[in-house]
Symmetry: C2
Subunit: 396 residues, 2 copies
């Protein structure tokens, strides 16, 4: 029995393919410091958890396909609090995580083989959705030495053709932690207007911005039909497993048509929408504390990395990731070796080889992505292990 | 800004497009008996709800992409209890509802424009997934006068060509309630083996079978590489809003490759998998009570329908749906009119026009689907209303 080309083409998750080696090491009693996946270790807000404990419905029914009304209302309030006072119910479609928002947006704006411009390195799952939706991602390189900021407009315009339908960014960025400046976003808006492209902005890390900076949302720009925000509660409130996100756009035709996709899959989770309707009751102190914690962790990791001979990285302004170039020839082999061979006091660490975040083959071969989603004490130890490991690996 | 052909092509849900009219009537204080959607009114098992109240995790983390181990284990036990003792972890992929299992299966076995044979009328959302996955559904007609049982093999074989990849059934059937016999399934297995096709069986209504009959699962047949079961907890345990299902196959290569799709969407809901891991602790009496309740409702509805002049329907053996042919010229107009005009003691009913369950245009124009998911007293009243409404509608 033959499988489809899509099934064959879809890349294995670069992060998850090392998991069997990690499982084996853990079975042998090795302690692993997990810097490989963006799964926050910070507790979900109390008000959400306690609303789960008080869940009073007796039937777990389908929710409305568009989204449960009280949850949509809470999202409307959230965007109003961000200053987007014109964002209402008709601008929002609830999705099963940011992931579903991404798939539907690809399917909604692209015919088979249409192109979407992305800046590499980029969130690896964009590739998977590209394959599933039969959309070609066109990668434009950003460089570690520029802090992964965007190239100039002419570099981007060169890659636009008749098949190009959109530019997709993630801001703050996964996997680089880069926060795009207002000027960079203005440039993108300008290009999109000029070539009649959609601008898709994955803003799931919106609140994860440090050094007193503030993220600029694409919703701040006057391009109502072209701007689409892909959002998720996963990182913001440590709700990764709740699978709740949304698509936000002032293009009301798009939002109302996307409902057809939503109807096909019936509804997002009912329980989660009921509990997540409490997001506006989460005290402001929660997110401030989270920001401070991640900022301190970023500082710690950057300081440690800068003290390791041969490591190159710039201080990222947001999200909870850092891409570092290591003095190793092949970070994929290195990441695997960490799990299979390297031990110090029966401990090791797990990182994501960065090559999986590039579409162009051969890129990112010396780079790794570090997710600083473990506590500072463990992070410090993980950085010690990294330094030791680099030395040992290069002696083999 | 242009949208994709897919977005334009995807049909609006035939069930959900009447919702605005129902909303308006309800706003006006009209009581509506909802027979239009398969959202069970029976309470979710206590053990599931109470495990929600006792949920002890402090972080709602991503689950494993394949599925949370304790939930997969509970599914393995469930299938073993059904007699499929060889079904293990490596035969199961957890999905976000049966819907996701369907989409992934289409994407996994079909290249663009490949064909899947379905028997119309069929579950309307198959159409939507066909569009999203760029798969052509090839409908073969089944008739109300045959109780929607399958045509003979030669009729099916006629429709097979080089693009055909699978036959898709739903057993017991939504929207017809038909339970396929072992002989019918043997015929399908025979055809699939002969032409090297997958047999996809949507078995989400497996337990909803009446008159002491038993559903035959495609897993009972010896066609390990070709059989794929699409399953869901939604109906079985009144967990529609939990969005949990799975794909089951003895084709281990398929199950292991499908994991790549799962990794792209990261995980299914964590909370639901934790609570649904309790399914094997649900007392047998729960499902027996549910079966008895639906059987009594089916009997009531059939008796009422048979007493309405001009109505044609056969007693279905399973699920909680009945397709009835009404003595009206256009059931879509009739269904809309019920919501906009018809009132008796300020009450009306909502049904699903059956044309939306056919792919061939013009079919099912006089038919409606009734979901008997309300209590017997209300069902009786709804049938009274239906009889009255048919008389009034035909006088207009």
């Amino acid at each position: 029995m033959e499988f489809s080309e899509k099934l064959k083409a879809i890349p294995s998750s670069p992060i998850r393919k090392l998991v069997p080696f990690a499982d084996r090491a853990e079975l042998e009693g090795v302690k692993i410091y997990h810097l490989n996946i963006g799964d926050p270790d910070i507790e979900t807000p109390n008000i959400i958890l306690s609303s789960l404990h008080k869940f009073e419905h007796k039937i777990i029914k389908y929710s409305n396909s568009k989204g449960e009304k009280i949850f949509i209302d809470s999202l409307v309030s959230y965007y109003k609090n961000l200053g987007f006072t014109d964002i209402n119910c008709e601008n929002i479609q609830v999705t099963i995580g940011g992931s579903e928002a991404l798939l539907w947006t690809f399917l909604a704006i692209c015919n088979p083989k249409d192109e979407i411009i992305v800046f590499e390195p980029f969130y690896a799952n964009y590739n998977g959705y590209g394959v599933m939706a039969d959309v070609s991602l066109v990668p434009i390189l950003t460089k570690i030495t520029d802090g992964f900021h965007l190239p100039k407009a002419s570099e981007i315009e060169k890659r636009i053709n008749k098949k190009t339908k959109a530019i997709l960014i993630c801001n703050p960025n996964n996997p680089t932690g880069t926060l795009y400046t207002k000027k960079e976003l203005e440039m993108l808006i300008g290009i999109c207007k000029k070539y009649n492209l959609f601008l898709l902005s994955d803003e799931v890390y919106r609140e994860f911005v440090y050094d007193g900076k503030k993220q600029t949302s694409v919703l701040e720009f006057n391009y109502p039909d072209g701007v689409i925000v892909l959002d998720s509660l996963s990182k913001r409130y440590s709700l990764c497993g709740a699978r709740l996100g949304c698509m936000v756009s002032r293009n009301k035709d798009l939002v109302s048509l996307i409902l057809k996709f939503a109807q096909v899959r019936l509804s997002a989770g009912f329980i989660e929408q009921i509990i997540a309707a409490k997001i506006n009751e989460i005290p402001k102190s929660y997110i401030i504390k989270v920001q401070k914690e991640y900022e301190a962790r970023r500082n710690l990791v950057i300081d440690c990395l800068n003290n390791i001979k041969g490591v190159i990285c710039k201080k990222p302004e947001g999200a909870f990731y850092i891409i570092a170039r290591l003095p190793v020839s092949d970070s994929e082999k290195f990441a695997k070796w960490l799990l299979t061979d390297f031990r110090d006091k029966n401990e090791t660490l797990m990182v994501a080889p960065a090559s999986g975040f590039y579409a162009s083959s051969g890129m990112g071969k010396q780079e790794i992505r570090i997710a600083y989603v473990i506590n500072k004490k463990d992070l410090k130890r993980a950085m010690e292990l990294l330094e030791l490991a680099i030395k040992q690996f290069n002696k083999i």
